[in-house]
């Protein structure tokens, strides 16, 4: 075979990854658009080890080569994630596109990533040297770059099993299908004993990476809903100041306006 490797097992894939300069290929929907006929691909999309969805006490593990269509059919995948991936492309794209590819392509427009950022997801990365588990937020360095070593593969995405019942998701695109996100927004909210314990908001497609501001979220943590309502104008003002957005297919001003509208709408949904 010229310009490619089809490993029979994950072990073989890791050996090739360690010894050759290869690009991991799972679904191909992003890679093939880049048209690199000389690329050496490592075809990992059909490795059974990367195609499983499993659960442990704390996390749902979504294999890197699980497709969006497969996740939509699985009752264990949280509704928030389904809301996001159901809006990706169209059936043929969701049949091919994978969770690992969406992360590995390192685009801020990747529709599954804002959900992962808002949900405090982790990534399990593997190599012949062993494995490491990293926070999704710390994985990205900037547009198109991330923390994956040249000998590593993304093995799974770990989504928390609890705390994702109160969520909000919205994607703004040019049309209902086959639309690249102009803005995507995911938020997760949680309370314990009338006190806010989580108010995570992640903004996709508006900067080099997905944005989340934990210090701003801290304004609401520990507050009651009534207190949070009083804080709301200051909270939205703080986001207004912090959201420094890039120009893209749409203007930075439009992006900011929509981001703030979505943030406010999400708070309203959570009763704030």
């Amino acid at each position: 075979m010229v310009n490619g490797y089809v490993p029979a097992s994950l072990q073989e894939a890791l050996e090739i990854r360690a010894g050759q300069d290869v690009i991991p290929y799972a679904g191909g929907t992003d890679l093939m658009v880049k048209r690199r006929p000389d690329a050496q691909y490592l075809f990992i999309g059909r490795l059974p080890e990367l195609r499983q969805i499993t659960e442990d006490e704390n996390y749902i593990h979504i294999g890197a080569a699980v497709t969006f269509t497969e996740a939509l059919a699985d009752p264990r995948v949280p509704a928030l994630m389904k809301a996001a991936v159901s809006r990706i492309g169209a059936p043929a794209i969701r049949n091919a596109g994978t969770f690992g590819g969406n992360v590995g392509n390192a685009s801020a427009k990747a529709d599954s990533v804002p959900v992962e950022v808002a949900a405090d997801a982790k990534l399990r990365l593997i190599s012949l040297r062993g494995e490491r588990v990293v926070e999704i937020e710390s994985f990205y360095h900037g547009h198109g770059t991330h923390d994956l070593g040249p000998d590593e593969l993304i093995a799974e995405i770990l989504l928390p099993r609890t705390g994702l019942d109160h969520w909000y998701y919205e994607k703004v695109g040019g049309r209902s299908a086959l639309a690249i996100s102009r803005i995507s927004f995911a938020s997760v909210f949680d309370m314990q004993e009338d006190r806010i314990t989580k108010a995570a908001a992640a903004f996709g497609a508006v900067s080099d990476t997905v944005l989340r501001f934990r210090d701003l979220e801290a304004m609401l943590i520990g507050r009651s809903v009534a207190e949070a309502k009083d804080m709301k104008p200051a909270y939205l003002r703080a986001y207004d100041e912090r959201l420094q957005l890039t120009e893209g297919r749409v203007s930075a001003q439009y992006r900011k306006r929509v981001c703030l509208n979505l943030l406010e709408d999400s708070l309203r949904t959570f009763g704030i």
């Binding site: 089809v6 191909g28 658009v33 006929p37 169209a90 043929a92």
Partner: protein, 157 residues
């Protein structure tokens, strides 16, 4: 390294080119399956749709290496089936074809839909075909044709 081969419309074929080549180009240029059209080259129009192991894919976004040993079906293979005949009749009766460029991809998207959901309602049909652009018909004739094929081809799917 193992040779690159897959099963195209029921027959095993060998591919001597690069594993990084687009399946779309291999199908058209190497195997002359010219029903597979290149509309956009970015996975946004569905004109190059094929079935890989029964699942709908845009062949412009698939490298040949990714279909090693897989079953690839294009319209050239699908047209030999009774299911195709049902769709073909319905599309002709309801004038669901004008220029025809999108039609092979639409038919395979319809097959993928009906094999999963043999009696789809209109919303399901529109969702199933949402990745296939047609610039001629305005879609209504196509949606009606898929619905009629599902009714008149009842039992085929």
């Amino acid at each position: 390294m193992a040779e690159l081969s897959f099963i195209l419309n029921g027959s095993r074929v060998r591919y001597d080119g690069s594993a990084a080549d687009r399946l779309l180009d291999a199908l058209r240029n190497e195997y002359h399956c010219t029903s597979v059209k290149c509309g956009c080259g970015e996975g946004e129009c569905g004109a190059c749709a094929v079935l890989i192991d029964g699942v709908l894919h845009n062949s412009c976004c698939v490298a040949v290496g990714a279909v090693q040993d897989a079953q690839v079906v294009t319209l050239e293979g699908y047209r030999e089936t009774a299911r195709f005949q049902a769709l073909d009749r319905a599309f002709a009766e309801l004038s669901a074809v004008q220029c025809g460029f999108c039609t092979p991809g639409i038919l395979l998207a319809a097959e993928a839909l009906l094999s999963r959901s043999p009696h789809p309602d209109e919303a399901e049909i529109r969702e199933g075909l949402s990745g296939n652009l047609c610039r001629c018909t305005g879609y209504n004739a196509i949606v009606n044709a898929v619905k009629r094929a599902a009714e008149e081809g009842d039992g085929l799917w």
